[in-house]
Each structure stands twice: as structure tokens, then as C-alpha cells.
Symmetry: C2
Amino acid sequence: MNIYDIAELAGVSIATVSRVVNDSPRVSEKTKQKVRTIMEEHGYTPNVFARGLGLDSMKTIGILCPDVSDAYMATAVAHLESRMHEHGYDCILCCSGFEQSVKEKYVSLLLAKRIDALLMVGSTYAGTGESDKNTQYVRDAAKQIPVFLINGFLDGENIYCAYGDDYQATYDVTSQMIETGRKRILFLCDSHSYSANQKLAGYESALKAHGLPVLGDLKLYVKNRIHTVRDILLERRDLRFDSVVATDDGLAVGAIKYANAKLLKVPENLCITGFNNSALSICSDPELSSIDNRVEELCNISVDNMMKILLGEETEVNRNNRIPCRLIKRCTTDF
Amino acid sequence: MNIYDIAELAGVSIATVSRVVNDSPRVSEKTKQKVRTIMEEHGYTPNVFARGLGLDSMKTIGILCPDVSDAYMATAVAHLESRMHEHGYDCILCCSGFEQSVKEKYVSLLLAKRIDALLMVGSTYAGTGESDKNTQYVRDAAKQIPVFLINGFLDGENIYCAYGDDYQATYDVTSQMIETGRKRILFLCDSHSYSANQKLAGYESALKAHGLPVLGDLKLYVKNRIHTVRDILLERRDLRFDSVVATDDGLAVGAIKYANAKLLKVPENLCITGFNNSALSICSDPELSSIDNRVEELCNISVDNMMKILLGEETEVNRNNRIPCRLIKRCTTDF
DNA sequence: CTGAAAGCGCTAACAA
DNA sequence: TTGTTAGCGCTTTCAG
């Protein structure tokens, strides 16, 4: 059943059917009704490929993230899908992992699919914030379609970023630890992404601002697996620390497990904060204080900006959207 | 840059270019090389819409799930995407929630996009296992394209199911609780889906098989939020139980929080099992014993079957794939 | 307000 | 081995 069949059944031309499908005002209400009835009776659906060929768009966007099975990204993807759906767009989801070549391959694949825009979730797509060669593929993609980065910043034409102020959040929380008497703050991290580097910078700045030394030993990079973190901490008997600033909830829960194993009082003897305010934070015991970088808001900003761009209002949109994070206080902090 | 441009630059016809793109054997190696060089030099990518129009396929499948932000579904989606990608297929992701009308709308939307197959994750799409009217839309979709159901069973032409044996798993775990001396086993549940009903049946069978009464009071349906579960349990001072069979890890963790709040010894005074073996289970304290229904295997079965069907080997595939679950033992059980 | 017809870029049957 | 050409189903000028 195609547009010709409908046209014939309705006794009009295909042009008229097309106009009805697209709700053009240049059709009399009477023929509109007539055609619509026929279409419904026969369950007609326009062929999206043909339409795509003509319009060079299938109203589809690409969502790229390293791994949807990660809670943070899953939340983001769920929210993005829902918001895009409101606007009549479908989402092609791709999980690239963290490897450069795979990320690049996925982006070209997505571009070949002629998506209308590309949404990238996760600061891994922003590089480390230093060299440019690892982010060139993003810039190249932006030459073809608008690119939206969630949770990372990358400066470039047609690249629109929305991210939480990880620097400030980490600065603040570190400062509060110091102000409540902590002197040896462990920085627990699992990557060197743009976001991770921002958090590190915030941590170091706070130490310096309060006249504390930045100790290499207290910057610990480990795999983000709860038991692994706990065990590493347990083994490092040389390492002394009275508090933990973790860049992810999983790492922080590892620290909680460590505290429980050593029978340390939390937060009195060990003060801990996590990042992302995930389900883990209310699952652990004691429950974890965690910095919420408000993914849903980041998603909303990106989607709103995208719709503006797609409708040709690029002049009105800010390429650099940084929003404050907030600390969700639970039981592993006393501030 | 389209096929005509390439053809002209290479001094061949568009048919030849098309053959090169599709790696047809009916082109001399020499011209193949020549054309390929030109294509690369100019960064030519075939237009997927035009190709889709001709082949009536864009090598895209639809993945429908109620909510990707749920850990179980996120894992499934991540795995599915990765496996489909291996086979050169892209995935359109849709999150339908649990409302009937929305689920139906999403399915028609996906069908209109001319996907090659539909993957549905979650037993909500299998109905309750009783009436047929809630699953008619699934059967209708199956008239157009093959439908694959993960974690639920629905009998029907062109519908292929893969699910864990929730009945048996729940039967076994309930039996073990009884055999280790428990007499009042609370069944904690948050839905009436096909899967939930299977679990309930397993629970009830086990009670009967061991000569224990099936008590209405001990079947508790609550919202799947950790603190809510804990609070409800705390309030129900009339309710006596010595063990908990939860249909989801979140519910089970709620029970753990309840036990901790009441200073009950786990598992001695309260034995608890969860379902899905999610990240929550190693996060809680004590860590949760949980039934793993092996999503990844379910996904693999579905993807393998799908590829067979898409390649026209439907005779070889089983529509009803039930696989055993396994209990991952941690600290909330003593068996 | 409606229709005829020219694309959109590719695939595949048919010719050569 | 290669080229010609007729679709695939829709959108959109251009005429009327």
C-alpha cells in the first residue's frame, strides 16, 4: 500500500495525498477528510525511506555513550530518548567503549546513517582537555551535523556542551572536609577524562587554598569495582587518610566497605563523598553522601538547544553550558 | 557526492560503482581498485535512504524496553546493541514505560520506521500470561516482522522468546528456606507481569510441596524503592516473617535495611534473596544473595535466533527458550 | 485548490 | 566484465 494506491482510491493525485500526509494548508478540508479516511481504512503509513531520500532526513538522532549499562549513562540515555521522542525524533543508540579507534568508527557509522544530530554522553568524548588529536573526529563530525556533548567540554564550531561544574563541586567538598578538620584527603579516581581532570583540579586547588600540601600518594587511580577498591585500600597499610573524595559512587562504596572492614567510624574517622548520586548511594550502609551533577538538567539543556538548532535558531544558543552541581548529604559526611 | 559523481570520476557506470560498494564478484579487481581509490579520496558514503528505499531495509532493529535507566534493562540493552553491531545492525532504542497505550504507540512507530526486527526487553510485553487483549499488538507486529521477547513468554507465530526459569528458581530458593527451618516466608513483589506471576507460582508451589500454608498476608506488593520497602516493613508490626523472597534486588535491599534498622541478624533471624544479581547486591551490607537470570545469555540466544531468521533459516529456531537461573550466594542466605 | 512531472541516490534485471 | 535503464515511494516545483 503506497501513495499511488491511496491516490487512486481517493480519486486524487499523489501530490494531494502527500499534502494531506504533511498537513499542508493548501488542501480543502473536504478532500483532506476524504483522503484521511481512505488512509485509515487501509492502515497506510508513508514509507520513511522514500521520505528520507527526498528530505535527506529521517528525524533520527544518534546517541553515543561508552556503556549504557553504567547507571549514570543509562539515566542520561533514558531521559534523552524520552525528550527526543516528544519532539518526534527517534534515537539510534551506540555504545562505543573507551577506545579511540572504536569511538571514531562509531561516529562515522552514525554519520553514514545521516542522523540529524549527534549526542555524546560522557566526558570521554571531550578528550583529556589537553591535546587535540583525540578529539579531531568530534570536530570533523561537527562539520556535518550539530554535535551535543553531555558532561564534558570541547570548544568548537557546531559543538554544544552541557556539563556540571565538577571543578567547583570538588573544590567545595574538599574545602568542607578541610574546614571540618580533615588533613589527609584521599582522591579516588578511575580515569583521566576531561571530567576526572576537572575534579582533580578542584581537589588540588582546595588543598592549596587552605595551605595543605598536594601529595602524590593521596591521589589514587583504581579500577571502578567495589571490592577491588576495598581490597586495594586494605592492602595499602602504609597509606594514611582521614577522608575520601571519590569521583564516582562505585569508588566511594569501595571506601565504605573498607571502613566497615576496618571498623572505622564513618564519618568521624573517615569522611567519604561520592559522585553521581546513583542508586548505590542509598544502598550502601552507611548511606553515601554524593555529588549530584544533575544529568537530567544537562539532558534538557542539550535537547532544548538541539531543537533550536534544528529549527535554524543557532544564533540564540550558547555553546558552553556549565551548571552547578549539588551535594546530596547522607551519612558519610558531617557537613 | 553521490554515485554519479564517483562513476564519472572513475570513468565507469553507476552500476559498476554500486557493484564495488557491495563488493560484487562480477567486477574486475582492477576497476575495483580504481573505484575504491576515488571513493576514498572523496570520502564517499552511499546514501542509506536511497539504498533503504531500494532494498526496503536499513539494517536497523528496534529495541523496546520500559525503562533503560533500570539496571537490568540497561545491561540487556548494552549487550544487545553490542551483539547487533557485530552483525552490522543499528539499534533504535525506545522506552515505553508500562502503560498499555504507550507501548502500543511505540510499536507502531517502530514498525513505521521499517525496522528489520523488534526486540522487546521485559516481561511487561508478555502480558500477565492470562488475557490476550493486552498482547494483541505484539502479535500484530509479528505479522510484519519477527519479534523477540527477552524475559517473558508469549506464544505466537513469528514471536521468539528467551527467558529465565523464574518459576523454578523461586521454587528452589523457597524450598531451601523451608528446608533450613523457615516457616514464614515473605514474598516481596512490585508487579503483576508474566515474570512476577511465574515467581509467585514458584513460591506457592514450594510452600504447598512442603505442606506449608499459602498466606495472603505474606504476599506483599510494594513499590520498588528501597526506603519505601523498608518503611512499609517497619510499619507492619503485625506481620511476622523469618525470611524474604524478593522478586528484585531493590526490594531485597529494602528488606536488608529493615533488618538493619530492627537489628535483626541476617541470615539467622532473617534470610533474604533478591533477583537479577545487580550492582546493588554487592553494595548493600550484608551483601545480598541474588538469583541471576543471566540476561546476557538471554540476549545472546535472541540475537543468534534473530540472525538465523533474518537469513531465512526460520525452521531451525525454537520459539520458546527457557534457561535455568542460578543463585549467586552471598551473605543473606545460609544455604 | 489540484495535478503533472522532475528529481532524491541507489539496486538489480536485462543487454551487450 | 560492464553499461543502460526501470523502478523504489515520496516531496516539491511549476502549471493550471
